[in-house]
Amino acid sequence: MGREMSQATETSSALDRGILSGLVGAARSRPWREALIVAAAYYLGAKIGFAFTFEPHPISILWLPNSMLLAALLLTPVSSWWMLVAAALPAHLAAELQSGVPPAMVLGWFASNSAEALIGAVCIRRFCPGPLRFDSFRDVGVVLLFGAFLAPLLSSFLDAALVRVIGWGEGEYWQLVRLRYLSNVLAALIVVPFVMTWATGGVAAIRGASARRATEAVVLFLCLLTVGFAIFDRHHASPSAFHALLNAPLPFLLWAAVRLGPRGASTAILALVMLATWGATHGDGPFVSSSPEENARSVQFFLIAMSVPVLLLAAALEERRKDAIAQRRAEMEAKEHRAQLAHLTRVALLGQLSGALAHELNQPLTAILSNAQAALHFLAAGRVDPAELREILKDIVAEDQRAGEVIHRLRALFKRGETQHQLLDANALVRESLALAHGDLVARNVAVAAELSANLLPMKGDPVQMKQVLLNLLVNACETMSGGATGVREVTIRTQLLTDGSVQISVADLGPGIPPDAASRLFEPFFTTKTQGLGLGLSISRSIVTAHGGRLWGANNAGRGATFYVALPGYRAGPA
């Protein structure tokens, strides 16, 4: 099959071929590898289970193989399930026959064990068709409900019935059901999350862990083990200490859930369960006050009651953390998109101004050329007045600097970088924007009146983006006035401090004003009243101002024209 596929993809690129054959190779080799792993794990789990079996009952208090099989099924595609179940059979036979179980019982148990794993796997796959996520509260809930509670329950009826029919061991039917159920619930709770969280990205998580996180994990597990040993590896004469001791591991489980996520929580639970079970079966720990069966039940209830909320808590926290990260990423992306759009509209705006910008450069160039040629005239005529020559040279230098500033201002606006927030002076912004728009204003024969208040607060924002907003408003104001009859063409740009502490910049024109039908759609993207224009200027300007925590709006004047207002919160350093 791999051969066919590589032939079929001969025409595709080497890279594609590499990926495809890699996938095919993985699909071909993995079921065998997994079958082997399942067989080994099943065997090991069964041996552990037998070690945790209380005589005279035939049922272990910690029967791990079923849950291992379930975890393996959940990790593999449905098509290779048969292979895993088949691989578990020899491991089952080997482990059980060694322990002296009659062959009929061995086969019966294999039936109930694999039935449990299959019921759990089918149900979980039904409700979570995609890859299982232990950072999802819902997925963990589904795994616990079907894998840890329903599947053991259903299979336990079958199991107990088989035990009764074959007549192996002692015990009432319902007692057997209860024993096996609890044992398998506990096993599923510790095995399935542990195996699945480590099998999916566990190695990468260890490799990628920071030194601090690794240290934290090591410290946590040392603490947990210490507490565990202290509780379960000691003879407790008085049951009065029981309740206090019972809660001792909880802080560490919570620590694991909160700080180390589902993987850390499931590992902590596994460690605790192994310790508690080991303590119980060795007659130690707080649960040794009554019969072995009572012991077992106490241990199981205690561990189940502790594991379920810890696993769900870990999932819920992880989910929320990932949501927060996703939200932050979405916000970052939105910000990035806004910055890109702002840059694009800025470039478009500058393109619109390019004719006027040529004018802005031609003025100093004209002055430089004429000054230099005048100086040459003086030299040629032999009338060299050093004072006049110095004046001319000074003017040339000043005009050259002026041309340089035009270029510099332009380059600053073309630049596309991180949005940077700094303290801005509204008046300086206005002056810079007027300098940028000067060519356009003059080319359209528009006069400017600037009424700048000396009593302002600084604003926080990105200077380039705010200049873009003002430039856009200025260009709009010019354009509305250049269309109609020649009246007074004047733009008034004002800065003032509002009573609420915000800084307002307004741009007023003497054009025809905002048409009534356009007023409501003015800030919509791609809406324009101009014959040429993208209709993005005001829309992106408003989004820039809003992102700065401010407002942008427009209104018709009482007399002629319209005014657009930008208001940004003023920034007060220290106590106001």
């Binding site: 004018h359 031609n362 160039l365 000054n371 003017d395 024969n445 004047e490």
Partner: protein, 213 residues
């Protein structure tokens, strides 16, 4: 140096350009007066003073083109050389159609500017000569009697004395006497010169009349 008698009036809102142009034109021997706006220029303007206008197109409030039209409408015949920071074709065509001497795009070489200014000065000087001549002729024409004026109109129409006499109901001899007086009063030495003067003075040739029955 051209040394033309006349002043170059520079109108540009850009102080740097204004200063540099003033300097260059002065260095080339021109009398220069510079203004930041058309209003400022008009405030100090004496149409009788010879000279030309170097006018920026892009001005706040009023474009140079609009000002050119306003100036012409006010009766001033001051020749205009336009200078512009962005020379687009429609603007320059409009300027030239409205009678501009030249349309220079900044930054321009001094050669271009000086040639344009010279051409404008020459046009101004010529126009002034023509106006002076016309005034002179007008003064002389005013000295003619109405009968002499009538005879002149017929002469300009190219009629023979005989036909003029017949049209005016007089004799050929009288017409001859009138012609002599006209030549003297107008200071003309030849018929050709008289016709040119009459043309300059706006004398309309008498309409062709049918001969008296």
């Amino acid at each position: 140096m051209s040394g033309a008698a006349g002043t170059v009036f520079v109108v540009d809102d850009d102080a740097g350009v204004r200063k540099a142009l003033t300097r260059l034109l002065r260095a080339s021997g021109h009398e220069v007066r510079a203004y930041a706006s058309p209003r400022e220029f008009l405030g100090a303007h004496d149409p009788a003073e010879p000279g030309c206008l170097v006018l920026d197109v892009a001005l706040p409030q009023q474009s140079g083109l609009d000002f050119q039209i306003e100036l012409a409408a006010s009766g001033s015949e001051r020749p205009v050389v336009f200078i512009s920071g962005q020379g687009d074709i429609p603007t320059s065509v409009r300027a030239m159609k409205a009678g501009a001497v030249d349309f220079l795009t900044k930054p321009f070489d001094e050669g271009e500017l000086l040639a344009a200014v010279q051409a404008a000065m020459d046009r101004d000087a010529r126009a002034r000569e023509v106006r002076a001549e016309r005034r002179r002729v007008g003064d002389r024409l005013a000295k003619l009697t109405s009968r002499e004026r009538e005879v002149l109109e017929h002469v300009v129409a190219g009629r023979l004395n005989k036909h003029i006499a017949s049209s005016l109901g007089t004799v050929e001899k009288t017409v001859k006497v009138h012609r002599g007086r006209i030549m003297r009063k107008m200071g003309a030495t030849s018929l050709v010169e008289l016709v040119r003067m009459a043309d300059l003075g706006g004398v309309q040739p008498a309409p062709a009349q049918p001969h008296a029955p």
